[in-house]
Symmetry: C2
Subunit: 279 residues, 2 copies
Amino acid sequence: MTELTHSIADLRDRLASRRSGMVGLVPTMGALHAGHARLIEAARSECDTVVASIFVNPLQFDRKDDLQQYPRTLESDLKLCSDKSVDLVFAPSEQEMYPVAPCCVIDVTKLGDHLCGRFRPGHFRGVATVVLKLLNIVQSDRAYFGEKDAQQLAVIRRLVSDLNVPVTIIGVPTVRESDGLAVSSRNRRLTPEERGLAILLFGILSSVRDQIASGSTDSAAITRAAIEGLPAGVKLEYLEIVDGEMQPVATVDGPVRVAGALWVGQTRLIDNLLCEPPR
Amino acid sequence: MTELTHSIADLRDRLASRRSGMVGLVPTMGALHAGHARLIEAARSECDTVVASIFVNPLQFDRKDDLQQYPRTLESDLKLCSDKSVDLVFAPSEQEMYPVAPCCVIDVTKLGDHLCGRFRPGHFRGVATVVLKLLNIVQSDRAYFGEKDAQQLAVIRRLVSDLNVPVTIIGVPTVRESDGLAVSSRNRRLTPEERGLAILLFGILSSVRDQIASGSTDSAAITRAAIEGLPAGVKLEYLEIVDGEMQPVATVDGPVRVAGALWVGQTRLIDNLLCEPPR
């Protein structure tokens, strides 16, 4: 039986009797899909109590229209949580999470400067702040995040180590459609025609991965080749080869990550792949 | 028997068996004096386990010379902790607290903009960051801070509520010498002559308090009168009448706080008093 609460105090009360076992948190913005299901499965397999939070965090949206258009599907989200045997769903209101405008927020430097951080000012500041709040509210032993949001995962790992937050962060592999498109809440906004174009992002990332696997090392040349002949209807926001601290790598000489953001119509999609040079 | 540890992991190990009772944290920068003793006494009277941390936090010093000159007196600090029945002293190295330069730190807006924040850029950012780290490391139920650092206390209270940190913050009244001078680690630096001048700060604050108690309401006029005829050898850095959120108050119409910073030679002293208008 999945319990639902909207209140921090009530959540803490309900968790009080469960603290002797391991507690896992799956933080989400709702609009749950197969990627979230994978996070919940990972938590379910490792923890005695699984908490999923559902909160569309206004602090991390740089564009008001994106916040307004973000899908909100609480009823079907609860169904998925119930199917996946989540113990507790925490779905707070904005008032519950931000009763007043916060004076103390997380400033993210370096890790947040490139990739999405360049194009979404304040995004990781908002992400890090709400994740720290959720970690403090739930006080879970573990928390689960998708590798699709690789930069977010890197920021959260660093948040936890920089601030000594007593939690273990678990990264969970990206779930993909059969053609390779990374599953995302934003995919719901795509028209059938746009869905056809969306796969181009995975194609570009795969090209980078394959070039690196076959020995190419010049990042600029690799990314240039990968985006050649991109059709109209899509707009590449960024494509970068980065290290573990999300800093651009000019010459590949070890495992790296390629990350990209592609606009398909009015929808912004992100994805990334680990790339390994030949041994 | 007071235990001493320099390691985060070891501290957590030692605390593991004590978590069933209430744990209290007294965060300090060492150079312990009667003010810290009062904090420890408050913790001792309320908690089963009392942890005192001793760490001179480089992140909160805006001037390198101030950091270098900050008194370090571990041996006598341990003696005071032992006399006051502290259970555990946590005295980490800089390497233990900041193994790498942090990417995620606390950005303090509004509360940190005035008073000390104006004159010590980055100070409250450093304070909030290290306090959050210590709270996360110790995971205490309560943490004790002196009211002498009123702005710091306000920042920490807000840090805890903004970020849902599961701890109760306890403010402890300022300890004063017989003539009114607030006890401070920095008082040790004063020559006998400077010690004579240092009391001027308490005099200025008392004048503001008395004027407000007798019905004066114009903050600018009140502070102007309070600092009239200040002798050479001291330099007033700021004197402000502020509300609970440390924002300047132009007209006093309820309880306020007067806060000041005075340079006596090379030493910067701060103090504050609660002021109540007549009923």
